[in-house]
């Protein structure tokens, strides 16, 4: 039996209307075929490749060409992309704005990436800016956040979060905190906390609630990876163990409650790595270690199966 047979039966039984039947049958029989994903993939790859090429070209020829030859075309491209996007995109709204033209989305992304190249060039050219490179990075991150919200653009939001993460890393490295790994872990937790608070705050204010996933995925992964790293570091405080167990537990519970099973898997995987790392470090016997892995992994499988049965099938 084929999909078309089901559809015909449902139409005859009155479960679906004739127009619904025709619209769905056109998809099932592929009389209608969308190349939306393919066009987006080509644009995304095109933007990434172009910016990589621009960065490499500027790096290679900046001293030979001079400042104007680099800055004028770059600025023109950034301004052009932003002007195009502003002219073609709907007005700002706190709610999700469905994109009708992918070119607008990628123009904004291209503008932000090119602006990053421009800033990098300026930072290197002007000694005065060189000392404020981290401040510029933070400012550019803020600008990307504004652009992401103005144009409802997830790519630019990811860019903004990545830039903010870069600022945390660069800023703290300059303060010498990475000389002590525990400080580096605190810094990573600070970044995760900042992202989580920012995401939660904007969601609570009703501003682009659909962006919350991007914040949560980053915050949870950075936080859990950091506490797991703390557990695996034998010189670190035992508090990391408590943090890892509590963090994994909270993530799993939150994932189950909100039926977001990616977070259940994050909590399970990071929690398992932390606990296994701790146990295996104290087991000197190889056979016992393997036996532990068998028993623990089977226990996790049983637990996940029970969970899957309880919560039913969710994406």
């Amino acid at each position: 039996m084929r999909s078309t047979d089901y559809l015909a039966r449902w139409r005859e039984a009155g479960a679906i209307s004739a127009p619904q039947h025709d619209a769905i049958a056109a998809l099932v029989t592929r009389r209608r075929l969308s190349v939306f994903a393919e066009i987006n993939a080509l644009l995304y790859l095109g933007v990434l490749a172009s910016v990589a090429g621009v960065a490499a070209t500027v790096r290679t020829y900046s001293t030979r060409w001079g400042m104007l030859v680099v800055l004028v075309p770059l600025t023109a491209m950034v301004v052009g992309c932003v002007a195009y996007a502003t002219a073609r995109s709907p007005d700002y709204s706190h709610e999700r704005i469905e994109s009708t033209n992918p070119l607008v989305d990628y123009a904004v992304y291209l503008a932000c990436l090119l602006f990053g190249v421009e800033l990098a060039y300026l930072t290197q050219q002007f000694p005065a800016l060189r000392g404020r490179a981290d401040d510029l990075l933070l400012a550019s991150s803020a600008l990307y956040f504004v652009a992401a919200y103005r144009f409802d653009n997830r790519f630019v939001l990811s860019l903004a979060i990545a830039a903010l993460g870069g600022w945390f890393g660069v800023r703290l490295a300059s303060l010498g905190v990475f000389d002590d790994l525990s400080h580096a872990r605190n810094a990573a937790l600070g970044f995760a906390g900042t992202i989580a608070v920012l995401g939660a705050l904007l969601t609570r204010l009703g501003v682009k609630r659909h962006f919350v996933d991007a914040y949560l995925h980053v915050a949870v992964n950075v936080a859990l990876a950091t506490v797991t790293w703390g557990v695996l570091d034998s010189t670190a405080s035992r508090l990391w163990v408590v943090a890892a167990v509590v963090g994994a537990g909270v993530t799993i519970a939150g994932g189950v409650r909100r039926r977001r099973f990616a977070f259940v898997v994050y909590g399970t995987v990071y929690g398992y790595i932390a606990v296994s790392g701790l146990v295996l470090r104290n087991l000197n016997d190889f056979e016992a270690s393997l036996a532990f892995l068998v028993v623990s992994a089977v226990s996790v499988v049983v637990g996940l199966v029970a969970l899957a049965r309880k919560v039913g099938r969710q994406p």
């Binding site: 990589a52 990545a162 991007a214 393997l290």
Partner: protein
């Protein structure tokens, strides 16, 4: 032999499709609820993420169990290793069977990991058997046996469980069989690999023509797309050069360059005719790769601005295609549209947008370099490619 009835699998397929149509606004939620009872089956299913998690932990448990058996038995002879791993393979496949038949798990991660573990163990057992039979220096023969066993077992698990990726795995295993044989020239290895993939394409085409339901047709389409991708990878010297290596005659080199363009063009044309989305994606992907690798084929030196040209071609190509489609009647040409029709496309883009996290802006890199004190570029004169700004 199949562990799930065709009717059950078709109901599962329709249940997923109804969910997708509801997400796209083609059906109401009430209609979905009304249709669901007809599509319910006695199979246990789970979502994508839990499926991945279950598969991961099953693999950990299985690998540790195999390691434990091998450590405890302390086997050293190839015969013994072959027998024990063969028994473990049988055990893994039996457990997968129990999971599917008794517990009615369907694409649950557990039965998939167990079955694939059985394939891997069978391959290892076959390799050990070849070493025992032909001597431990016969690594090539061991590879041959292992690949053949993996391919045959993958076909077997497809027949039992219907995993869509199993025939693809079988094709890859068979295509890689000649790889370690030094007596074969690199050109011949590529040709054998491409012929294996072409055979898989023909087999999938026939299977698709015979298919009586959409599930089997989808399986055939997946294999067809993978077969084209395999053929392309074997024939594009720039892509597979690192794996297969060696020099090839001039006629072969230019012949493969011709094919690296002709094959994707033919595939895209065919995919539009037959309306196969995955075949179209593979064809377009191959075209993009041909564009990226042709300069290397021609032996032209790489330039820093190459990616700009490449990127602009992609952007212009996508823009022209979109505009051309939108200019058609009702934004379509021959039924092909640039608009999003299903929610799954939007979900895919949301996922892809997260990859932008891995590409921080250039000023983040530059700031990091600055803080490391390394921005002496350009001072050596000539603006070397490795220099900073």
């Amino acid at each position: 032999m199949r562990r799930y009835s065709a009717d059950d699998e078709m109901r599962v397929f329709m249940s997923d499709a109804v969910g997708e149509w509801t997400g796209a606004g083609l059906l109401s939620r009430d209609q979905r609820q009304a249709l669901e009872p007809e599509l319910s089956v006695g199979l246990r299913r789970t979502g994508r993420m839990l499926r991945v998690g279950l598969a991961l932990f099953t693999v950990i448990a299985g690998a540790a169990a195999v390691g434990l058996v091998l450590v405890v038995t302390d086997l050293s002879s190839e015969w013994a290793l072959s027998v024990v791993t063969a028994l473990l393979a049988v055990g893994a496949l039996k457990l997968a069977d129990v999971a599917a038949v008794t517990y009615r798990l369907y694409r649950f991660g557990v039965e998939e990991a167990l079955a694939l573990g059985g394939v891997g163990l069978s391959a290892f057992a076959a390799g050990m058997l070849a070493s025992a039979l032909f001597g431990s220096n016969s690594a090539n023969t061991a590879w041959l046996f292992a690949s053949a066993a993996a391919g045959l077992m993958a076909v077997g698990i497809y027949r039992c469980f219907g995993f869509r990726y199993a025939p693809v795995l079988a094709m890859v295993a068979f295509a890689l069989m000649p790889l370690p044989f030094d007596s074969l020239t690199p050109a011949l290895k590529r040709l054998i690999g491409a012929v294996v993939c072409a055979t898989a394409f023909v087999a999938a085409h026939r299977a698709g023509a015979r298919a009586s339901d959409d599930v089997r047709m989808g399986d055939a389409e997946t294999l067809r797309s993978a077969a084209v991708a395999g053929m392309y990878i074997f024939l594009n010297l720039q892509l597979s050069g690192a794996v297969i290596g060696g020099t090839v005659p001039g006629w072969f080199r230019w012949g493969t360059l011709l094919l690296a363009w002709a094959l994707p063009l033919w595939v895209v044309r065919r995919a539009i005719d037959t309306r196969e989305p995955w075949l179209l994606r593979v064809g377009l992907g191959a075209l993009v790769l041909s564009l990226a690798t042709t300069k290397g084929y021609l032996g032209w030196p790489p330039r820093p601005w190459d990616p700009i040209v490449f990127g602009v071609v992609l952007i212009v190509g996508a823009t022209v295609l979109r505009r051309w489609l939108n200019a058609g009647s009702a934004g379509e040409r021959n039924g092909v549209t640039a608009r999003r029709l299903l929610e799954s496309d939007a979900a895919l883009m949301r996922l892809v947008s997260l990859t932008a996290l891995a590409t921080p802006p250039e000023n983040a890199h530059a700031t990091a370099r600055t803080n490391e004190g390394g921005f002496a570029g350009g001072r050596s004169g000539g603006g070397g490619a490795e220099a900073g700004y």
